[in-house]
């Protein structure tokens, strides 16, 4: 059987897990990354979200074999992913949305924030100045049990403002 290779946060990784293993368990157990989190295993909540070739995907429902040869970006890799998009000389410590969430002191338990940041980053990459309605529509598939939606909405707009001056 051919080796299963996946590019994870810009590093090629050879995957040993069974090919039908959900990507989430590969990230957690084999690659020991802490960004994606188990929430429902049903694709309903968004806590396991990652970017696959820049598009948000639920890693709990994505077989690792299906991302063979593709590029997976997790929460840990978002600052570098952002730097590539914006042609920055080096990756910042945090993606502007991560910084904005800190500035808003938005989170409570923070468990859902993997998905919030991954999805919000995807949105801002596609639409750098979204309206409030566009943000809500884009984020609607991501749940927060602690009820921090108002601060996430503010943080996404804050990040959009911060990203305005950044060259591409």
């Amino acid at each position: 059987m051919a080796e299963l290779k996946v590019r994870v946060n810009e590093q090629e990784r050879i995957i040993r897990s069974a090919p039908d293993t959900p990507l989430l368990y590969v990230l957690l157990d084999e690659l020991e990354l802490k960004g994606a989190r188990f929430g429902c295993g049903l694709g309903q909540c968004g806590s396991c979200s990652v970017l696959v070739n820049g598009v948000e995907a639920r890693s709990c429902l994505t077989k690792v074999a299906d991302v063979g040869g593709k590029s997976v970006t997790t929460l840990e890799g978002l600052p570098a992913w952002y730097a590539v998009q914006k042609k920055l000389p080096k990756a910042p410590d945090l993606h502007p949305l991560q910084q904005a969430l800190l500035d808003e002191q938005a989170l409570q338990c923070g468990y859902c924030y993997n998905g919030m940041i991954v999805k919000g980053s995807e949105l801002l990459a596609k639409n750098s100045q979204p309206t409030d309605a566009q943000v809500r529509t884009a984020m609607n598939g991501h749940l927060c049990r602690c009820g921090t939606y108002p601060r996430i909405l503010k943080a996404i707009q804050r990040a959009a403002a911060a990203m305005k001056g950044v060259t591409k």
Partner: protein, 740 residues
Amino acid sequence: MSTRREFLKTGGALVIGFGLSENILGQSSAQPPTPRGSVPGPPDARQIDTWLAIHSDNTTTLYIGYAELGQGNSTALTQIAAEELDLDLSQIKLVGLDTNVTPNQGGTYSSASIARGGPQVRTAAAEARFALLKMAASRFGVPQENLSVVKGVVTSGSGAASRSVTYGELIGGKLFNLPFANSAPVKATADYKIVGKPAVRRDMTEKISGNYTYIQYVRVPGMLHGRVVRPRGQGAYGTVAKVLSVDESSIAGIGGARVIRNGDFIGVVAETEWDAVRAAQQLKVTWDIKPSLPTSEDLYARMRGAQTQDSFVRQSNTLDAAFKSAAHVASQICHGPYQSHAPFGPNCAIADVKPDSALVMSSTQDIYNLRTGLARILKLNANQVRVQYVEGSGTYGHSCHDDAAQAAVILSQSAGRPVRLQFMRWDEHGWDNYGPAHVGEARVGADANGRIVAYEYHGWQHSWCTTETSDQLAFGTAAAERPGVGAQGINPLTLGSMYDVPNYQLVNHKLPGLEYLKGAWLRSPLDLSLSFASEQAVDQLAYLMKIDPWEFRQRNIKDPRWLGVLNATAQAANWKPRPAAANLSTAKIVTGRGIGVGTHLASYGGAVAEIEVNRETGRVVAKHLYGAIDAGLVVNPGIVEAQITGQLIQTASRMFKEEVTFNTTNVTSLDWNSYPILRFEEAPEVTPIVVQRLNERSSGAGEEVMAAAAAAIANAFFDATRVRMQRFPFTPARVLAALK
């Protein structure tokens, strides 16, 4: 960030027991083992060393017994310690809760961290400062009064003649070995520089960057992955599901997986997580499941007609006469559903059980209580069991954390290896200790001047259930209940006692809990239901008398602190006085506003809701929620604002969306589709208001505005439609039926 590392470093015995390797620790254990952590706790709460350690580099490690659940209590308690010790916040480190390390301050519930834990930490820090100043005074040969402290540097005199010494130089690395002197002065509130002011949460950067170790991530060498196998959704608490047969051949194709059975407790363990998940799904178990429940639709009739244990929580002999003399009387029913904690990450626990010891990591709210329970199950002494707290996702009360810990020890004991037990979404949703359902009947009477003269409330609910599911299944342990007092029954603080009422009666009807779902405390227990009935009845009186509902409440409240939160929210919402339902419209989408007051067992909450009702679809959304809390001295107003924000959004979710559904055999709301919660598109704007009272005792702010917000939403619905809802959540079908 050192919090996690410090936690694991401190637990010397844990490192040995689990054989934690470098990749778990993040670094190898560089420090020599210290006595701290080597003996079972709780350490003596009257010893300074129990609470803090001063290091040579003039930093301090603070040992607190309250769990960080994402509410920010660890930051606020650090502020209290920093204030009393005259340290900068950056000089204080924390360790995780550990029954071998941290003091027993009781469980992290009832909004107790600051209300009860704050004074304990303040006292301990003041005692330490007092002892340190004594050392400095002796070193310099000056009276203590001549010393001042800034950032842990003690200075005597001023200018060229001044001499300084750091805390670290005085005692760094050594133990105080001192009991509390009981004479240590605490700072005057007026001198506070850190307490009462916002400070950033200490745990956020790691959580944002993906470096935080939630319990769901903890991995230990040699561990197996475990899952429980249960019927999908629980039946009645007193009717335990029985196993008829287990077909182990049904998972024969999953090489690494095996079944562990203990009584009616079934679990699987496997080397890989995916094998454990698949095995739990594929394993064929035949259960003997008998009808044991009313359905969620028949629930309220069953509750209202049940044989109950009745008691007066408050009694009035003049109530009937007062109602007879009242000029106006309003009544209101509440049918409040079971609601689920549904933590966003299902509970997880790691256990390593050996013949004579056990190490357990859990997101429990109470490590010492869990230790006792696990010791009983394992037939060990409590001091042979060590429990460490690792944060999971927000729990908002007694979700399945202790059940998961029990399941982990049962699996580990049988497997003879460490086991990481992770609940699946349906386990957590289906086997939760739900916030109990409630039937409430409120009746309130006012005289011709709009003064409330009589108030009566009857409430039906069962108490909290204390036997965890794993314990029931594995050992046949009888289903036990709490006595049904306090927050387990109807609660005067939320029920009308904020008003100046001469004739006041509360009657509690305790249901037989074994016939219903398993219940326990869910954030602001029962309060949403209580205020839904109580505050709608009060609101209805104002309506009957054509009095603005804010004005009506002002007229009937004397307590300045209740008036404070009431007025703060009304003013923030720019409330213009008019009677309710005075602006009715026949448009498709109508708007309404409502006001309410309420709390839990302390503090004061007020709220205003602005909502929209779609009369064609039945969809209700909150557009703006305002909430005020007076919790006395608020240590960190920024964190309390965040707490209010979360409470307002959760209240909207619970009023519009959340309801545990069940048929006669089992719970059927097992995921986020069948148990929906509020989403981004429905999230209102929020205005949190902290009513700061620097000279009042801190009294908790984690759940005290939800009752007010629930009432405000219900009253806003009336304002929009002139219809009083009797049941929540306000689902479209229910709203359309009510508007017919």
